[in-house]
Subunit: 340 residues, 2 copies
DNA sequence: TTTCGAAATGCAAGCGCTTACATTTCGAAT
DNA sequence: ATTCGAAATGTAAGCGCTTGCATTTCGAAA
C-alpha cells in the first residue's frame, strides 16, 4: 500500500492544507508573502506528506536550475579534488548544487559532457584550461550558458578565467633552480597534447633557460601518465642520460612524488645526487621525505573564487575580467645545488 | 542580435525541419522509429540551431532524470576520490550523470543534501556508511528514490550496501600485528561520532585483542582530523605514553602517512622503533618510505559495482542483496616485530 | 490501377511548478 | 456600520518535452 502511493506534489500539499498551489509555492519561495497562520498550516502539510519540490518542473517554470556544472579531467588527482571541494562548498553557500563530470583527459568526452550538463540545465559551467574545440565555446554562447575557465590564467583569451600564470610560476621556480647552478635538467611532464597548463609550464622552464643564455634543446623531457610505474620508468629514462641530469623538474607534485620514490628505490639520494621539484604544493609535498620543493598554488582560494565569479556571471550576466591568483615558490629539502 | 536570440527548443527544430515536435523527439530518442530522410533533415536542423534538449522538461515528461546523486563526506580525500571517479565513469557508461554533494562529515548538511538531490530529480542516491537519522531513509522511501550505501557492508542493515566488512578487515590486520608480538598498541583514528566505518575498524582491533586474551582497555586511542598538524599531535600524544606503544594502528592511510612523517621528524625509526599501519591502500601507501602496511580496499571495483547496482535498482526496481567485497592485507615495510 | 496494412508522422494532453493578474479578505479610518 | 486600500490568496497560463492515439503515407499484392 505504501508503495502504491506516488510522490506528493504541490497539488497534494495544497489540498492537504486547504489552500491553492500558488500559496504553497509562495510559502516555499517567498514566505513573507504569506500570512503566518497559513504558512504554518502549509509547512505542516509539507512535513506530513514528505513533500519535496520537483526540480524539473521548477527549472521549467523559472528557467533557472541553480545548478553549476564542472568538468574536470579527473577527480582522482588531489590537485583537482581540493579545488573542486572548495568550489562545491562555496557553491552550496550560495544556494547552488554542483553537477560534476570528468573527461578523463579526452576532448571528445569533454565535449559530450558539456552538452550533457547544459541539457541538464546547468546555469553555468566550470572548465579546466583553455584548450578545446572552439565549437564548444560556440555552443555555450549559443545556449547562453556562461563558462569560466580555471586552473590557468590568460589575460588575452576570450574566455574568462580564474587561475594563475602557469608559465610565469614555473619560470620562477626554474630561475631558482638555475641560480643554484644546475645546467643538466630533466623534465617529467604529463601529456602536452590538449593541455595548455602543461605546455605553459614547460615554456616557463624554457624562458628561464633562455634568459640564462642556455638552449632549450638541452632539456630532456619525458611525458608520462600519473601511474606510479609509468612515472618510475620516466625517471629511469632520465637517469639513463649521460651526463646525468642534476635536477628533475616535474610538472606537478604527483609526478614528483613518484620520481622521489623511484629515486629512493634506485639508491639515488635526493637532493645530493639529484634534485627533484614539483608543482602545486598539495599536502603531500610537505609529508614526503625529503619534503618537496614546489610551487604553491592556492587551490582552495581558486575554487572558491571560481564559484563566486561563476555565480556572479550567472546572476548578473556580467562578463567582467579574469582573476589572476598568485603562486609562491616553496623551497624545501628536495632541491639543492648540484654536486661539484 | 545574437544575444537576443533565445535558446532553441524542440519546436524551433520542428519548424526548421518542417516536421512535428513528436518526430523530432523520436529522432532523438528512438531513431529507428523515423525514416532515414526525415531523420537526416531533423538532425541537420538540430545541428544548425545548436539545439540541446531541456532536461527539466524531459524529466517532467518521462519522470526520470538519468541522474544519480552521491553524497560523500569530502572529495578531498583520496579514499573517496578514487571510488567516486570509478562510480562516475561507470555511471556515464550507462547513460547516467553524477550529481555530487559533500557533507563535510556533518549529518545536518547531509540531510539537506539528500533533500536537494532528490528534488533535483536524482533517480537514485549513493550514501557513505549506514550511520544517519532514520528520517532520511524514511524520506527516501517516501520519495521512492532507491539508495545504496557504500564503503561498508552490513548484511543485517535494512539498507542495501556495497562494500566490505570494516571490522573483519581491521581484525585481520590486528591479528597479524599481534601475531608479531606487539602488545602495546596506539591507535590514531578519525572521529567515531556518526561514522560506523571508524567504529567498526576499532572494534576489529578489539576483537583481535580479545581473541588473544588481551584487554581492549589497554588500547590507547586518539581521535584526530585529517589535518597534517593535528595528526602529528595525535602521534605525539601516543609517543608520550609510557611504556611507549610498539605499534600505531591508523584508521586509514592518510592518517598513517601523517604519522609516518611525524615519526621521521621526531627521529623515531619506523618500523624499528615503532611500527605504523594504515587502511585503504591508496596509491600513496606504496610510495612513502617506508612503504605502508595496510589493508587493501578495492575502491575502483567498489565504485563500479555500486554504480551497477544502483542503476539496476533504479531501472528494475530490484531490492536484491548487498554486495560484499574482499579486502586483503598488504604487508609492507612499516610493520615489523617489536624490539626486544 | 486499386486496395490494404504496416510504417511514418502528427495531434494534443499532460508532467509539476511559478507568477502575472484577478479576486477576496481584513483592518483601519470614517 | 461603511468604505477603501493594502495584503492575502486564488486562477490559470504557460515552461519544453514525451507519448498514446489518430491520421496520413507508401509500397506491395491483387
Amino acid at each position: 500500500m505504501q508503495s502504491e502511493r506516488s510522490v506528493p506534489t504541490l497539488d497534494d500539499v495544497a489540498k492537504a492544507a486547504g489552500v491553492s498551489t500558488a500559496t504553497v509555492s509562495r510559502c516555499l519561495n517567498s514566505p513573507d508573502r504569506v500570512v503566518d497562520k497559513t504558512r504554518k498550516r502549509v509547512l505542516q502539510a509539507v512535513e506530513e506528506l514528505g513533500y519535496a519540490p520537483n526540480f524539473g518542473a521548477r527549472i521549467m517554470a523559472v528557467k533557472r536550475s541553480f545548478t553549476i556544472g564542472a568538468i574536470v579531467p579527473t577527480m582522482e588527482n588531489a590537485i583537482f579534488a581540493r579545488g573542486l571541494q572548495a568550489f562545491q562548498e562555496e557553491l552550496h553557500k550560495r544556494g547552488y548544487t554542483l553537477l560534476v563530470a570528468s573527461s578523463t583527459y579526452q576532448p571528445d568526452l569533454e565535449r559530450e559532457q558539456v552538452h550533457k550538463l547544459v541539457s541538464r540545465g546547468a546555469d553555468g559551467l566550470l572548465l579546466i584550461g583553455h584548450d578545446r574545440d572552439p565549437a564548444v565555446y560556440e555552443f555555450l554562447k549559443n545556449q547562453q550558458v556562461p563558462a569560466l575557465v580555471a586552473w590557468t590564467y590568460a589575460a588575452t583569451a576570450p574566455q574568462r578565467s580564474v587561475g594563475f600564470d602557469n608559465r610565469v610560476a614555473m619560470r620562477r621556480l626554474a630561475d631558482e633552480i638555475l641560480g643554484l647552478g644546475h645546467t643538466r635538467i630533466g623534465v617529467i611532464s604529463a601529456a602536452r597534447q590538449g593541455n595548455d597548463r602543461v605546455r605553459q609550464r614547460i615554456e616557463g622552464i624554457n624562458d628561464a633557460l633562455m634568459s640564462k643564455g642556455l638552449s632549450p634543446t638541452s632539456l630532456n623531457t619525458v611525458e608520462t601518465t600519473y601511474d606510479v610505474d609509468q612515472v618510475a620508468r620516466a625517471f629511469d629514462a632520465l637517469m639513463a642520460v649521460r651526463p646525468r641530469p642534476t635536477v628533475v623538474i616535474c610538472g606537478n607534485d604527483v609526478l614528483a612524488v613518484g620520481a622521489l620514490r623511484r629515486a629512493y628505490d634506485l639508491g639515488i639520494k635526493v637532493p645530493q645526487d639529484v634534485s627533484i621539484t614539483g608543482f602545486d604544493d598539495i599536502e603531500l609535498a610537505r609529508i614526503v621525505v625529503p619534503a618537496l620543493t614546489t610551487v604553491h598554488v592556492p587551490h582552495q582560494k581558486m575554487g572558491r573564487t571560481a564559484a563566486q565569479e561563476l555565480v556572479d556571471m550567472v546572476e548578473n550576466k556580467t562578463t567582467g575580467a579574469s582573476v589572476k591568483l598568485e603562486t609562491h615558490i616553496r623551497i624545501r629539502e628536495s632541491l639543492a645545488a648540484p654536486q661539484q
